[in-house]
Symmetry: C2
Subunit: 345 residues, 2 copies
């Protein structure tokens, strides 16, 4: 059965801060946007991974949390009524008659647009999963049980036997935090040295000296023990083959994020090491009508900063204007003069 594609001016792939600001910039130039994101909420990494983390380099905000930044960017985009398609991945971007593109997602959404702006950050991202046999069986076993790659609520682990694996900031910070609620907390790391803020690593070692937590270093995860999705213990091994068994209700591996461009790699774009090469004067990729902005876009001198992505969003929007409104010359006006739809001065 042929799908009926929705028709719009632009599809923006990625609802992180840069994608949201692209909605605003396109809106100011009288272009409508649909926005697609693999996550089930707008905000990208900012909201999914570190909503409470302060950011210091957003111009005009001496300090703002990632979550607040996202909420403000979403509010700024709202007057332009973007259509969000969340919790779905773009599977294909293919030519669709004339100079338009058909964008299709794994949820069956089909959108016909004049241009596409890829603001996909590092691509669909997910935690690095430790290479342990049968680990999938212990995932998604509910709050406080089995294997978790993110902590949503520390309280879920109250009284539980928790094993944290890893030696970076996430592992150390969560160890310090969960030490207060867990019944027993063990940190497994393959080195003696932690790659975390020195002050935090120092606190962790003091907790271990005081007997409040167990530090199992240098050890690596070796196997999981349990049945029917119920975790019982984590087996670890040192470099000499020495093994230990740690009783566990929950294992939290913090091994960083896997960056997965996913289907984007199949769209015929000019890729350079998981990044999309663009013309720095327009953010246009090698395919006409497909732009890339934010962390995924590469050109000489590129800085991976949110504020750089904002500037690229403006640039791509202005370049897309000529495609969406070919009949009109862009009489550029500052927002101070033009104002916003349905409000402003």
């Amino acid at each position: 059965m042929p799908k009926t594609a929705q028709r719009t001016d632009l599809v923006i792939v990625g609802a992180g801060p840069v994608g949201l600001f692209a909605v605003f910039e396109c809106g100011m130039l009288d272009m409508k946007c649909h926005v697609i994101d693999a996550l089930d909420a707008v905000g990208g990494q900012c909201l999914a991974l570190y909503p409470e983390k302060p950011i210091y380099d957003i111009p005009g905000y001496p300090e703002i949390s990632a979550g607040d930044l996202i909420r403000r960017l979403e509010a700024q985009a709202r007057p332009f009524k973007p259509v969000y398609h969340l919790d779905q991945r773009v599977e294909a971007v293919t030519p669709d008659g004339g100079e338009r593109w058909l964008v299709e997602t794994d949820a069956g959404t089909a959108i016909n647009a004049r241009a596409v702006i890829v603001a996909a950050g590092v691509g669909a991202f997910g935690p690095n999963r430790p290479p342990l046999e049968g680990i999938e069986d212990f995932e998604n076993q509910g709050a406080g049980a089995g294997v978790h790659y993110l902590v949503k609520r520390a309280e879920d682990f109250r009284g539980k036997k928790v094993v944290i694996a890893g030696g970076g900031d996430s592992a150390v910070d969560w160890a310090l935090s969960l030490a207060k609620v867990a019944g027993r907390l063990t940190v497994v790391h393959r080195r003696h040295k932690f790659r975390a803020a020195p002050e935090s690593a120092g606190k962790l070692k003091k907790l271990a000296r005081d007997g409040a937590i167990d530090l199992v270093i240098p050890f690596q995860l070796a196997a999981l023990e349990g049945e029917g999705g119920r975790l019982r213990a984590v087996l670890v091994r040192d470099l000499d083959g020495g093994e230990r068994r740690i009783e566990a209700d929950a294992l939290l591996p913090f091994y960083g994020l896997a960056q997965d461009l996913g289907p984007i790699a199949e769209w015929g774009l000019n890729l350079e090491r998981n990044l999309v090469g663009v013309d720095p004067s327009t953010c246009l990729t090698n395919r006409p009508g497909i732009f890339a902005i934010g962390d995924i876009a590469a050109y000489p001198g590129k800085l991976k900063l949110i504020l750089t992505g904002f500037s690229e969003a403006a640039m791509a929007a202005h370049a897309a204007y000529a495609l969406v409104h070919p009949e009109q010359e862009l009489h550029f006006e500052y927002s101070t003069i033009k104002g916003l739809p349905g409000g402003g001065s």
Copy 2:
């Protein structure tokens, strides 16, 4: 007598929003800045010309006044202790031994710096002065009297005979505003049509129909009448040579801003129609160690947006780092990780 130059990492020419953000970006990269501006306060045009005007396209601010934006940018720069040299113009930028620059102002300030970032907007700017003989004599005659190019307080004109000249937004907006306080208000414009927001132009014409103000169109300013700096009347002329005399305590010409690069034109930079050409990957000009950012910087695809200037500030700061700290490789870190001096997390 030889001056003793102060020594610093960078001189930033221009304390508008982009110059202020450059202080922050340089500070995050451990570089100290001196900032020079021709105005007597930071903020550039934003604060000098339209402090109360709302801006809609600062990322993360659905609406912010120009004044508030400046105050926040200044606060963001403050931890890095910039040294401001206000109310003075940079007269010369000359090589000063090795790879450094000597920056000298008309107030006698001399600074030796490794690099210079020109964030001078449209240059030193000022109002366009009507070509009337002896107009200078009527300037700076105190509140509510003589010729003024800016209105600081509407109240100064209470009960006065005021002539506004011009047909743009400033002329129309101030006419609407001063109509409420002036004893008699006359608007002189050389055309029938106003280049202002249609709604405002409509209000102006209604005031004229109601007899609340006088609209003298199409007429041009011809001469000023008065003695000893005291204005008595404004003489105007139409295209056919017909003259009128309008009694006046004050004349407010709103003929737009003159953009004057001033001495910047003498620094050996690659100028393109009053703009400075830069390498878009670094914002470096044709002179090594001199960068240009914000509205004054030109490259293919350039957008004259404040947010674009912010991105350029980051780019120039990163490029300058290699000059200021040649011995150190820049290990780039996000502000979320690094935090700020003397605070932050």
